[in-house]
């Protein structure tokens, strides 16, 4: 079962977890991806999470723009 937790809640949790010390979570993920690649490690999960956060931000911005136009 996928459970009742909304994707938007999951996004907030992931964003918060990857933004310790006020760091931007996408930038932090980029740094972790670069570091993992230097060590020869695979990065599917880190890269997937980065794309997830980037797309969520784009959607949020689009929503805000539409909201502002309606107002």
């Amino acid at each position: 079962m996928i459970g009742a937790k909304k994707l938007s809640t999951i996004r907030d949790e992931v964003e918060e977890a990857f933004s310790s010390r006020g760091e931007d979570p996408v930038q932090r993920l980029e740094a972790q991806i670069a570091s993992a690649k230097r060590k020869g490690n695979r990065t599917e999960v880190l890269e997937g999470l980065k794309r997830f956060l980037e797309r969520s931000r784009k959607r949020k911005r689009r929503k805000q723009r539409v909201g502002a136009r309606i107002e």
Partner: protein
């Protein structure tokens, strides 16, 4: 969930939902029966039921799966079904099933999301299921770094077993 019961379906809508689910389930490789129940459940939208053979397995999809699919801030129908197909693989895939004997319920949810992510054609759905698996580990008190490391190890393992 906004109300206690789903809005009534227009004529033909039940069949259209059933066909959409059946098509997606087929694409994802689901074996067994597929049904649509126009009721709210406590599952999040769908549930995998293990039968005595793979052909008798049952995928039940509920009304909230379609409501979530219509919400751009929530899981798509494909992601929901891919997660359930992940459960079927955990139960039925010869190499995977052997490795997951005794795994906790929470562990199964994480693995089902990872397998679901591997099956999705659409990258949006893939990354939402990765985020779901990450959230499960964060809920269990893991740090972001530990969660992503563990998920990558599991991803590598599942990829070799699939």
């Amino acid at each position: 969930m906004a109300t206690h019961s789903p809005r009534p379906l227009a004529p033909g809508e039940h069949l259209a939902r059933r066909s959409r689910i059946a098509g997606l389930a087929r694409q994802l490789g689901f074996m067994g029966r597929v049904e649509y129940r126009h009721v709210y459940s406590r599952t999040g939208g769908a549930q995998y039921g293990q039968g005595s053979t793979a052909g008798q397995d049952l995928l039940t999809v509920y009304a909230e799966a379609f409501e979530r699919d219509a919400n751009p801030d929530d899981f798509s129908l494909e992601a929901i079904l891919a997660h359930e197909r992940g459960h079927q693989l955990l139960a039925r895939h010869p190499r995977i099933a052997k490795r997951v004997v005794g795994v906790s319920e929470a562990g199964e949810e994480i693995l089902a999301s990872l397998l679901g992510a591997m099956l999705c054609n659409d990258d949006d759905n893939r990354v939402t299921l990765l985020a779901k698996a990450t959230s499960e580990l964060l809920d269990r008190g893991q740090s972001a770094a530990a969660a992503s490391r563990q998920l990558q190890e599991l991803w590598d393992l599942l990829e070799t077993l699939l």
